[in-house]
């Protein structure tokens, strides 16, 4: 029987996002050219929240977009019934922008690789950074996060479940582990 362990509750997520927002502004040396891109689906919700936090603290408007990386997945030919493709909303050109990719969980790194491929079809950003709420280890590609909410040690059979109130009715991060020893 799988067990669920609470890693972050609603207030803890808010504190993490607030710190992440400040770190992003610090690492980007301000907000010039800053553009947040959330990876569908929960990354998009988190990007929205972080952008709002930056706007509140810096007093400027922060543009944001979202990408669905389904069509760029590297396991596309083997993944079985076609996954539903969500909305991608990016400006016509990413040239010269400082992109911060926002996602809920960083694991193998393949989703981020797919996002980078997708950006290449939209132009040449000046710089791309990665901000994730949870880094669970287990990288299969040389991808790293610049801004991390929380690090969690996991094994392959674990699943990190991130819930956001916009989609799931509540804010929480839980670790779901297999019942087997």
């Amino acid at each position: 029987m799988p067990s669920r362990t609470r890693i972050l509750d609603g207030p803890a997520i808010e504190r993490a996002l607030a710190r992440m927002a400040a770190e992003i502004v610090e690492k980007c040396h301000g907000t010039d050219g800053l553009f947040l891109v959330g990876i569908q689906r929960r990354g998009a919700e988190l990007a929205e929240r972080i952008a709002t936090l930056i706007e509140a603290s810096q007093g400027v408007s922060i543009p944001r977009g979202k990408v669905d990386i389904t069509l760029y997945r590297d396991d596309f030919q083997t993944v079985g019934p076609r996954p539903i493709v969500g909305e991608t909303k990016l400006p016509p050109s990413l040239d010269g922008k400082t992109i911060v990719i926002v996602d809920d969980v960083l694991y193998t790194g393949r989703t981020v690789r797919a996002a980078l491929d997708e950006f290449a079809d939209f132009g040449r950003p000046k710089r791309v950074l990665l901000a994730v709420l949870i880094d669970r280890g287990g990288r299969e590609l040389p991808i790293h996060a610049d801004v991390v909410g929380e690090t969690v040690a996991t094994v392959e059979t674990d699943h990190v479940s991130v819930m956001v109130s916009e989609l799931d009715g509540r804010d929480a991060v839980e670790l779901v582990q297999d019942g087997e020893a």
Binding site: F76, R82, K89, P92, D121
Partner: protein
């Protein structure tokens, strides 16, 4: 417990065999593909490395180009085969043509053929995915789908809509695909046209016969106006194109009498001044050009959904054997 995901199977040969869930799957999948066509770089790698042959035994420009764009925007490699230039002229059977393509490991075939049932016939005999671009008078599934998408874009839903198909229903595979798709998604369908071009007993499909264009205009939310082919006049189905326009032409004069603004659709190419007047085709309620845009997106969606994994070349083909 998750429900079994909806899939499309190996081939798309018509809308009649599809369920409402499958139709919704294709329409929902077409949405993100619309965005790809708006990008500066109109390409996604989804079908990278797949080979697709457009096997057209009937002349076509618009449908073939639409499929070609759909395939290229998915990063597939495409080859166009026009029957007049091919070995079919030398007497090769459809099955032999297909088997030859299969021997070259073609992943998907898009076929337009003058015989009803040709697409399904092909699909049963080769392992590649088969998509019908129109077979005889039977169906033109991707046209039906893009019409459904266009209606859904405008009205929000298909259910409860009243759609009148107007024109040469007898010879129209577009009409048949529309009838299947619309009925499955809960619309009411009317067919309107000269009695000489109306299939007998068509009401058994569950459609209403609207004898006059005025009836269609008074009843419908949307008109899908079919092209009147000049061959019909030559074959004696109608007295003249002028007469057809006088009796069945969709004009602003007639539309002004409608209780509401009707959506105007046409699969193209139009005969301006015959089945549809120019100022109607170019008017504010015409979605003829959005239909074309939706056509590429819907074809991308269909190809994307069918191309799941690689055909199993080692497995024997499903049926057909030595059937010519």
């Amino acid at each position: 417990m998750t429900a079994q995901p909806v899939t499309l199977g190996k081939d798309l040969v018509g809308l009649e065999p599809l369920s409402a869930a499958q139709l919704h799957l294709i329409l929902d999948t077409a949405e993100p593909f619309k965005e790809v066509s708006e990008r500066a770089i109109k390409k996604v790698p989804a079908l990278r490395g797949k080979t697709i042959v457009n096997l057209f035994f009937e002349p076509s420009t618009r449908t073939r180009i639409s499929f070609e764009f759909a395939e290229k925007r998915l990063s597939a490699d495409t080859v166009n085969v026009a029957a007049t230039a091919s070995s079919v002229e030398k007497g090769e059977t459809l099955v032999d043509t297909a088997r030859n393509l299969e021997a070259m490991r073609i992943d998907m075939v898009v076929i337009r053929h003058p015989s009803s049932g040709a697409a399904r016939f092909l699909g049963e005999r080769i392992r590649s995915n088969v998509v019908s671009a129109g077979d005889g008078k039977h169906e033109h599934p991707t046209q039906g789908l893009l019409d459904l998408l266009t209606l859904r874009d405008h009205f929000g839903t298909i259910e409860g809509l009243k759609v009148a198909l107007c024109g040469d229903i007898l010879h129209s595979r577009v009409a048949r695909s529309n009838i299947w798709g619309l009925l499955k998604l809960g619309a009411e369908v009317g067919v309107c046209g000269p009695a000489s071009l109306m299939p007998r007993h068509i009401e058994h499909l569950g459609v209403a016969i609207l004898p006059h264009i005025e009836d269609a205009i008074a009843w419908a939310d949307a008109l899908n106006i079919l092209r009147l082919q000049v061959e019909r006049m030559e074959a004696g189905f109608i007295p003249s194109q002028r007469e057809y326009n006088r009796v069945f032409g969709v004009s602003n004069e007639r539309l002004d009498k409608a209780p509401k603004d009707l959506l105007i659709m046409h699969p193209g190419p139009m005969n301006r001044g015959v089945e549809i007047d120019s100022d109607v085709a170019d008017g504010p309620h015409s979605v003829i050009l959005p239909q074309v845009t939706n056509g590429v997106a819907v074809r991308m969606a269909a190809l994307y959904l069918l191309a799941g994994g690689a055909p199993d070349w080692a497995a024997p083909p499903a049926a057909g054997g030595d059937d010519p």
